[in-house]
Every structure is written in C-alpha cells, then in structure tokens.
C-alpha cells in the first residue's frame, strides 16, 4: 500500500494553491491561519516519509484489516445483468471507510506534536473512527455532534464514550452535521497550539480535501490490484460511490481520475425527492459559495445563507460537497445521480436478501442506482460499499413494509 503522493499534472488533482479548477482554497479567518498553514506546508512531506508510510500501512493491515475484499456479488449481478463487485469497506474495523482517514490523520497529528484531537460527526461513524484511533494512541478526544444527531444515533454516542471520547452536543443553528463542523472549527480557533482537527470528509480548507483523498486512495489502489487479479483488467467500466462530503468517493475514484474510460458515478442523497424541499442533492440544488472554508458547491438561499439539507442517512445530510467533487461535476469527469430515501431503503433490503450483506444507509444510495445505469452484461461495475448497516438497523426496521 502506498499513499498516493505524485499529483503529476492531473486535471483532477489539487493544484499548488489548493484549488480544483475554480473550487477549493482555504477561506479561513486569520485565527486559523497558523494551524492550517502548518498543515499546508507539512502534510506532503510527512505523508511521503517512508517511516510514516510504513506505520500507516502496518496499522491498515493489522488493525483495520486491510486489504478489504473485492467481492463479486453473484446474485446482485444476475439481477442487474452486469458483473458487479463490491468493495467491502464495511468489513473494516469500526465498520466503514472512515477509519482509513483517521489512522492517517492521527499519525500526522503525532508527528506535528499535537496532544488533543477534535472531530465533527454526523452519523457517528467518523466520531467512532476518531475516538478509536485516539484510544489507540492515548490522545485526548473531543467529538462535536449535532444535538439532533445525538438523539438519532444513540449507539454510536455510547461507543464514542466507551472509547474514552467526550461527546459535545452542537446546539447552534440546525443542530446537525454542518453545525457540529462549525463547532469543531470554533474549538480549533480557541485551541491553536496543541490541537489537531481530524476532519472526516474530503471537504474543508486546503489541504484537507487532498489529504483525506490521499488517505482514502487506498480504496482504489486495492480495487485496481484486486480487479486485475480477478478479471485480467484493472479497469472497470463503472465505479459507483455515495457522496456526503465525498471521502469514500474520492478514495474509490482516486486512481481512476485520469483514466477517462472508467466512468465515475457519484450518488447524492435525493432525500424525499430533489425538488421536495427535503433533499441533500448538492450538485442539483447548489450554487458556488463558501462552506467550512472551502469554495465549492453548496445549498444556500438567494441571500447566501446555508440551508439545512435532508437525508434519511445522517452521513449524507450535508449541504455541500468537497471541492474535488464540485470540479469533477463541473468538468463532466464524474456523473452525479441522486437516490431518494425510498430508493436507498429498497436497495438496502435488496442487498440484505440477495447477498446477505446489510449495507450502511449511505452505501445503499450507491447501490440504488444500479437500476438506472445503462448496463451491458459484460460491464464491470465496482460499487464502494462504504459501511455496514448496524448503525442503521432502527431506520431499516422502522421502514420495513408491514
């Protein structure tokens, strides 16, 4: 395993100023300048240090359980008349792809001499993955979580506490993921010296989108090897991933970005329908602006106030997307689809019955679009199964057809 280091001259990778096309940058108040500047100037050196890579790889292997399998889903393939492979991020320790990033960032934080870790979380997956690595390294951990999400995701709150983290309710604004992120940023402003902020998705100020994408790029690095072994070609016809802020999609797309024959499909949360007023389909509903210090696409009013999205899945309930994805959307390199709450639920039940795998609600959004892709029987499709559905059992049970 290698953390991708050479950006070369890809059109889709971050440029030296922290932009992807016209998206990205670091729109931070001066109070955050020292922290963010330190990361900007040091992250590439740290990530490319062989001893860092060794430590990262060893933990991914022995602690996370990588490589995660690439599983040929036979019955799902029969149903959709194509060759469908599932990248099993759900089998990682803590149950989702999020841990790839938190392992990377905790090692980085240690090298920066930080002693206190903060994070935001929506569904609690990133919070759990952060609390986990903090326990592993013996570092103090504070997780901000919207007070509404604390109620919606009680088991993950209990997990974080058991792992020794302090969970702080975000009670400002709409009391969900966006506000938890605001609170984490405010904490960082108030603790400029000893604290590292482990942001959980490919969003936020430069270098986070790029740094998170690199840590997650292990996903597509493995897909390439595994697919080559299984099919004789490293190149699928489609790579499909759900997108909240965009970290699992960034990881699944990463090594295919410049291989234009591979179609990249990002699936956003359509909520109750894109035009229902209850949706999180950012590329359809959003316009350019600044959210969490990044210039990107976001959902906002005509007055520039950020609006609260809706999705059945707390992990996709975010009013923006990372700048890399805004650029992939605008350049046409990736196709953006949306799956409604209903479609995602149906896909979740279907995978459970056909393959014996209960997917996270987030990942179910990616699966839900198999029915809409113009698939041929020879097409190879890789779906990033970003997480497992344990945390969503309540939602699944509540919505089961009576």
């Amino acid at each position: 395993m290698d953390i991708a280091i050479n950006t070369g001259n890809s059109r889709y990778q971050v440029d030296k100023n922290g932009y992807y096309g016209r998206f990205g940058g670091a729109y931070i108040p001066e109070m955050l300048y020292p922290n963010v500047h330190e990361l900007q100037t040091k992250y590439l050196d740290i990530l490319s240090d062989p001893s860092f890579q060794q430590e990262f790889e060893a933990l991914l292997k022995d602690y996370v359980g990588r490589p995660s399998p690439l599983y040929f889903a036979k019955r799902l393939s029969e149903k959709y008349k194509a060759k469908i492979y599932l990248k099993r991020e759900d089998l990682n320790h803590t149950g989702a792809h999020k841990v790839n990033n938190t392992i990377g960032q905790i090692l980085l934080a240690k090298r920066l001499g930080k002693t206190r870790i903060i994070a935001e979380t929506g569904a609690g997956q990133h919070g759990v993955a952060t609390a986990t690595v903090c326990a592993l390294m013996g570092l103090e951990c504070v997780v901000y979580m919207g007070s509404i999400d604390i109620e919606r995701q009680a088991p993950n709150v209990a997990r974080m506490k058991m792992l020794g983290a302090t969970v702080v309710p975000a009670t400002s604004g709409s009391k969900t993921l966006k506000d938890a992120t605001n609170e984490a940023i405010r904490d960082w402003i108030n603790n400029p010296v000893d604290t590292h902020y482990i942001l959980g998705t490919a969003a936020g100020p430069h270098p986070y989108p790029d740094m998170v994408a690199r840590f997650q790029s292990v996903i597509s690095e493995e897909i390439k090897k595994q697919l080559l072994e299984k099919t004789g070609s490293a190149h699928p016809d489609y790579v499909v991933a759900c997108i909240g802020g965009g970290s699992n999609a960034a990881g699944a797309f990463f090594h295919y970005l410049d291989e234009e024959e591979v179609k990249l499909v990002a699936v956003e949360a359509g909520g109750k329908g894109v035009h229902s007023g209850f949706s999180a389909a950012t590329t359809q509903l959003g316009t350019i602006g600044i959210i969490h210090a990044s210039k990107t696409l976001l959902m906002q009013t005509s007055d520039g106030q950020i609006v609260e999205p809706h999705s059945i899945s707390a992990g996709l309930d975010y009013p923006g997307i990372g700048p890399m994805h805004a650029h992939l959307y605008e350049s046409g390199r990736a196709q953006f689809l949306d799956a409604t709450d209903e479609e995602a639920l149906a896909a979740g039940y279907e995978l459970s019955l056909l393959e014996g795998i209960i997917p996270a609600m987030e990942s179910a959004h990616a699966l839900a679009k198999l029915k809409d892709l113009p698939l041929n029987t020879d097409d190879v499709v890789v779906v990033c199964l970003s997480g497992r559905g344990d945390k969503d059992l309540d939602t699944y049970i509540r919505n089961m057809k009576k």
């Binding site: 931070i28 001066e30 109070m31 506000d179 940023i185 520039g304």
Partner: protein, 257 residues
C-alpha cells in the same frame, strides 16, 4: 472624498471607540435607531454585522444575535434598503462586518457598488484570505473606495503582520487572543503581544477587539493601540432593551464617561 475612517484617525489617535452591532437586532428595524444612538452617545466608529447562518469566528452571543436577525427577516437586500439615506443623519464611519459567502452570492462588485452608494466606509470579512483578496478582489474594493480591514492575532508572525499591514486600509483589527468572539480571557496576559504590536510601528492605526467589555478592558487596550472594538458586551446590553437610546447611553457612558 476622503474615506471617513481616514478622516477619523487624522483627527483622533487615542481612545477610539468602535462598537459592533448585528444588523436587524434585536428587532428587524432597530438597525438605524441603534446606529443613531451610538453616534449620539459617543461611538467613534460603527461596525454593523451582516448576519450569517454559519458565523465560524463567533462565540455564542454573536451567533445568537445573527440567528435572531435572520429570523427577524434580515438579509443583505433588506440591510441596504434600511441603509438608504442614512448618511443624512449619521456621519461617523460605518463598517460592514460579515462572512464571505453572502457577499460572494450577492456579487462582490454589486456589493461594493451598493456599499459606496449608501455610504459605507469599510468592510471586515474574516474569512476572505489575503491572497484571494489581493489577486481577485482588491481592485474592486479600491474602485469603490472601500477599506478592507484585516485581522491579526497573537499567533501572527511579524512578517505576516507587515504584509497584512501593507494590504489593509483604514486600520488593523488586532484580535486580543486566539479565540472566537466573546471569550473571557485575561487581558493582562496579552500585554506582551500588545507591546510587540506597538513596537512594530505599523502604517495603519490599530484597534484591539475580542474580550473588550468594560472601562477597564477598554482602557488597557487603548493604552497600547489607537482604541478598541466592543461587540459581545454591547449585544448582551441591547438584547432585551426596552429603550435603545437609554441603553446605549448607559452602556457608552460606562466606558468613556
């Protein structure tokens, strides 16, 4: 015409009092009455907050005032409507403070043009980075004679302070401690930083903000800089005010006597 901020500092170099208030707070139509009372009772500068849904650099008090103002129906369009004609009665310099997203969505040039039209003198956008300002927006702000006021903090290096000083116009906003607004930190701990700032002999005047809440903190700040900015304490004072004029009079007289 010379910018009113420059006129002010040409006349007055000590004890300049800048008071922050969120526009449309506590009630939608309180913007002008608050400004009028501030001028009447001795504020030298008025900083009007443009409310935003996600004010990253603000603590709970200013966040809440922002949320309240938005609930009251405040928007940039409404603010500019309220400000039309305010220069007939208000002569102190007025600065708009807010986050970059609403400005970007309004259109940076349209925003600057509107500011110039109603008589705004300066802008504080804490999340507009220096590099982006310099490469993309500086010419627009300067075209409309709007001073962009940048922040410096105790963590800002001397080299960077000098760079910020060279790009800033009007004055420099020295944040007293690395924090969000409204944090109670001991001003005495900051004196080494204030001394350092003073010794740099910057080209812009300096006002100190964050944590200035009463006469003692105002006097401390004024001893090191050209004056200070009060935000959170003022928002708390007018939050439940029944009589804006009286509240503002009492508040300011408690600071400058």
């Amino acid at each position: 015409m010379q910018n009113r901020i420059d006129q002010l500092f040409a006349k007055k170099q000590h004890g300049v009092l800048n008071i922050y208030c969120t526009a449309g707070f506590p009630k939608l139509n309180d913007t002008l009455p608050v400004m009028t009372a501030l001028q009447q009772h001795g504020a030298d500068l008025i900083e009007l907050g443009m409310p935003f849904s996600d004010p990253l650099a603000d603590g709970p008090v200013i966040q809440d005032s922002s949320t309240k103002a938005l609930q009251n129906g405040m928007s940039l369009h409404t603010l500019f409507t309220q400000l039309a004609g305010f220069r007939q009665t208000i002569h102190v310099p007025v600065i708009l403070m807010g986050y970059f997203n609403p400005v970007l969505t309004y259109g940076v040039e349209a925003f600057c043009a509107k500011c110039a039209e109603v008589g705004i003198d300066g802008i504080i956008v804490p999340d507009l980075p220096m590099a982006e300002y310099e490469s993309e927006y500086r010419t627009v702000f300067e075209k409309y004679n709007l001073h962009l006021i940048f922040l410096v903090t105790p963590e800002t290096s001397e080299e960077r302070i000098r760079k910020i000083d060279s790009l800033s116009k009007g004055f420099l906003y020295a944040v007293s401690s690395s924090s969000t607004t409204g944090k109670d930190k001991n001003m005495n701990d900051q004196q080494a930083y204030f001394e350092r700032l003073k010794s740099l002999q910057l080209s812009n005047p300096v006002l100190i903000g964050f944590g200035i809440k009463d006469k003692a903190t105002f006097d401390t700040a004024s001893a090191y800089a050209n004056g200070a900015i009060i935000g959170t304490a003022f928002i708390k004072a007018i939050e439940h005010s029944q009589d804006i004029d009286k509240t503002v009079e009492t508040f300011i007289s408690g600071i400058i006597q």
